[in-house]
Amino acid sequence: MADARAVILNRIRAAMADRPSAPPVPRDYDTHRPVDDLLGLFAERVADYRATVRRVGAGKLAAAVATALHERGARTMVVPPDVPASWCAEGFRWLVDDPPLAVDELDAVDGVLTGTAVAIAETGTIVLDAGPAQGRRALTLVPDYHLCVVRAEQVVGTVPEALAALDPVRPLTFISGPSATSDIELNRVEGVHGPRTLELLLVT
């Protein structure tokens, strides 16, 4: 039996015997759009997904973390190994993912605290790339509550700006609000398998 790869590639070449030439891709869409209040737009779009955004001054992050966790009633939180110690407010139990925790351990914590790589204002999206303060993908997936720190300078306006800022070969997760489904009568309902609560701390 001939090799499937060779057969398929030959079928493609035979199918395209007419060798049509593709015109160049028109890229006259917007890669950037001017916005008056980028952070305001980001906060508004995130809120549309029923996620919470709190604006925080740079020196007050630990206090904001403590407030969020108190309101949530969370006591045990998991963090990636490289989360700044200053984020981990006193009065809570902080589990560090080093050595990596088992999934059952991740399933048992009250939540996870991470940073982010890039945020997109127009779509209300945060993107994690397993870079600084973000950890491996399972960390922000299994716990039911995700508290995420976004620095103002990480927020870009559009999807094209975000992709240009990302490294494609890192494992990437784009997150737009808490997990949701539109599978029942095409109405959006929040809260399925991923974290059911997403809160962002926007550091300005």
Partner: protein
């Protein structure tokens, strides 16, 4: 030739299946509600982007570029995935793809796989193939779970259980899901909650996952899955082995091209600015996610489709399902009437081409499942001119019937009549007598055979008393 499982064995031709579906008032209510909800939302999500038409044109051009140089892009994708620790497999047809997945699952020592919703694996009948080989399959997308537990068939590309309303879903869960509470409410939030509880153990213990792919980037080897619930992330992250089955045409040339599709797809499909979760991975990342990654590139009729210069436009499809949601035919008949995992306008042009068998009457009936109103083309994010392809495929169907068919005889007679002025005017005069068959509303609902084959499902306007030519001669002559 082995039968392509993209259509379901035993489904009647579209007109017969549609008659049955139209007689179900509950189905029509469910579909009308769902399609109208999503239509309005999509229009809003699209209107927000001032450059939407430019994005559509870019999407169309990128996909054409891919199709015109598919061999080179697939070779580049293979090289990039392999360089990052993944393994690429090639499958000529459904059974070859199923055999590859089965072999890999067995090699991983798994008795069960978790699955992310994927059109490619539905198209090849992977669940049946694995189950008949003794491997359990757990669908983790909520709508796929509803279909699986309801022993049902999918009826929509994005929302396979669109034909079910909340009360019906509640009944299915209460009956089929172990541990579903007796007082389960028929509320979307409560139904999503029991699905979460039901699947959580499966996610945390699964060792092999099977997914599809929305896009794969040739120059980086990155594979992209868009989803909402987080079941995708669970499958793409927790198991040790990940097997992704992807149609050949899903490759895009460069990383930058994703900036177009990550805008076009969410707004066209779920009518959101962005879907809740998009995962992108490249090969294997040590210490993060699956440590074994297999990418199965699936032909299954795609290269045959590629050979048709008009029909190949169907391969630009990114499976958003916007064309289903706006289609007046789909809204009334539902997806099951199409007898394929690809229903609606895109199914009507994609399914018969993937089947690629002129003797298959069911598949050949699908290009007629349209009034050619053109709403599908207007919403298509990659500008597939679906009506053009429908007409093209109808012509192919008629041509395949040969010169002895009714259409061919009728057209030959018409050519003879229209080729001569006297014959033409005589025919017009005779034709105007047909108005006597019309009712008081000026419409003909019942023609004698063979015209009855036309009027069985359509009215015909009664011809006027006088032809234009006769009127002109009388008033200006």
């Amino acid at each position: 030739m082995r039968r392509n499982p993209v259509t379901w064995l035993g489904t009647p031709t579209f007109p017969r299946a549609a008659s049955a579906a139209l007689a179900d008032p509950q189905l029509r209510r469910n579909l009308r509600h769902a399609t109208h909800t999503i239509r309005t939302k999509r229009a809003g999500a699209v209107a927000e982007l001032p450059d939407w038409e430019s994005l559509r044109r870019a999407g169309e051009a990128i996909k054409n570029e891919v199709l015109f140089h598919l061999d080179g892009y697939l070779e580049a994708l293979e090289a990039a995935v392999t360089a990052r620790g993944g393994t690429v497999h090639w499958a000529r047809d459904a059974s070859e793809a199923n055999e590859i997945v089965l072999r890999l699952t067995r090699a991983a020592g798994a008795a069960e796989v978790v699955k992310v919703k994927s059109m490619a694996t539905a198209e090849i009948g992977l669940n049946d193939a694995l189950e008949s080989a003794g491997i359990g399959v757990v669908e983790t997308d909520l709508a796929e779970l509803i279909v699986q537990l309801g022993h049902d068939r999918p009826s929509h590309i994005l929302v396979p259980a669109i034909h079910r309303n909340r009360a019906e879903i509640r009944e299915i869960f209460a009956r089929e899901m172990p541990g579903a509470p007796a007082d389960l409410a028929a509320e979307p939030a409560a139904l999503a909650e029991v699905a979460r509880a039901h699947l959580r153990r499966k996610f945390l213990s699964a060792t092999v996952a099977v997914s599809g792919a929305n896009f794969a980037v040739a120059d980086t080897g990155s594979v992209v899955v868009l989803e909402s619930e987080g079941n995708g992330r669970m499958c793409l992250t927790l198991p040790r082995t990940l097997i992704t089955v992807m149609g050949l045409e899903k490759v895009v040339p460069t990383w930058r091209d994703l900036e177009v599709f990550l805008q076009l797809l969410p707004r066209s499909s779920t009518a959101e600015r962005m879907n809740p979760y998009t995962s992108i991975w490249t090969g294997v990342t040590p210490g993060d996610g699956p440590q074994e990654f297999h990418l199965v590139l699936l032909d299954n009729g795609r290269t045959a489709t590629l050979a048709d210069p008009v029909g190949r436009a169907a391969l630009r499809c990114i499976r958003c399902s916007a064309c289903l949601n706006v289609c007046p035919v789909y809204e009334r008949t539902g997806g099951a009437a199409y007898g394929s995992v690809y229903p609606g306008p895109i199914g009507a042009i994609l399914t018969p081409q993937l089947v690629d068998d002129p003797a298959d009457k069911q598949a050949a009936s699908l290009p007629y499942a349209s009034s050619l109103c053109g709403a599908c083309f207007e919403v298509c994010p990659v500008r597939i001119d679906i009506p053009e392809v429908l007409v093209h495929l109808r012509a192919k169907t008629v041509a395949a019937k040969g010169k002895r068919s009714g259409e061919a005889a009728g057209m030959a007679a018409l050519a003879w009549i229209m080729g001569n002025r006297r014959r033409y005017e005589a025919a017009q005069k005779a034709g105007s007598l047909a108005r006597l068959l019309g009712g008081a509303d000026g419409r003909i609902s019942h023609l004698p055979w063979p015209g009855s084959r036309w009027t069985a499902s359509r009215d015909l306007p009664a011809p006027p008393k006088e032809s234009f030519r006769a009127w002109w001669r009388r008033t200006h002559g």
